[in-house]
Amino acid sequence: MTDKVQSPFPPELKPDMEAVLHFYATSPHHRAIGLKSVSADAEKAVMKIAYDARFVGNPDTGALHGGIVTTLLDSTGALAVLARVPAGTAVATLDLRIDYLRPALPKLDLIGSSHCFRITPNIAFSRGTAYEDGNPDDPVASFVATYMLKPVGIGMDTGGKQP
């Protein structure tokens, strides 16, 4: 997972990770579910969500709902992209594919880890895994996603219109 990524952007246009991490920390849905950034650089983005009984998908087993895994990985994949694009670039998910490899063990915090392995002027590609904290070699899910890039500031100005 250490692909060499050639950026289409001029080297002087660097990411503003302080702004990105602030944006992530203040996202209403991130706050609602306690989804937190752990680290983010050009190689890897890591996020964490604490186990919470409200997020359970199967009350018999206590396993988390796939929707929580989707949210964790969607955000983590976008964070890996944001760590490689010029400050102010907006990122929107175009598609994502998640394979559920096994149920997440109950009571354990979940980590999302992602790497952005290709960037073009319009599209960026990320892939990664979700796993219980401390257990990165036996992931519960793997994912790959593509993101649209838009140089208009964090966020998108399209509100309901076609990107």
Partner: protein
């Protein structure tokens, strides 16, 4: 009673829309289910804390994926009677439009159901069915069918 038993009971009593009450995450997000013109629909009512990106004021994409996964699961429970629950294998979601801060509705359709695996296609919309905001393909592993000896 297991979740499978509880769901089987709801199914038998034609109260499958109440399956949301059995799933903590579905309750947490506020998913709803209802029948319209003979079709089982799911709804994600807008809530301020569903916003992922406050600059653009749009839903978090993960929630839309969650809604579509739940819609596929519920659709399968209605159409395929088994005594255990289907297990999700994977989901492939397409985000077609920014999802504006109003309710999102979703419906599912079984594309192919084999002996062991089912493929369910889901469409999510806001203004109307013909203007989708997202679609998904979801694969489920199906438990063995009921046998006459059971």
């Amino acid at each position: 009673m297991s979740l499978a038993d509880d769901i089987a009971k709801l199914r038998a009593e034609e109260r499958l829309t109440e399956v949301i009450d059995l799933i903590p995450y579905a309750r947490f997000t506020g998913f709803q289910a209802y029948w319209e013109d003979g079709q089982l629909l799911a709804r994600l009512p807008y809530r301020d804390d569903h916003i992922g990106n406050y600059t653009a004021n749009i839903f978090h994409g993960g929630l839309i994926g969650a809604l579509m996964e739940h819609t596929a699961f519920m659709h399968l429970l209605h159409h395929v009677e088994r005594n255990r629950l289907p297990k999700i294998v994977n989901i492939s979601a397409n985000y077609l439009r920014p999802v504006a801060p109003t309710d999102v509705i979703a419906s599912g359709a079984i594309v192919r159901q084999g002996a062991r695996v089912a493929n369910v296609r889901v469409r999510a919309w806001q203004k109307g069915w013909d203007d989708p905001v997202a679609t998904a393909d979801v694969h489920f592993l199906l438990p063995k069918p009921r046998t006459t000896s059971e």
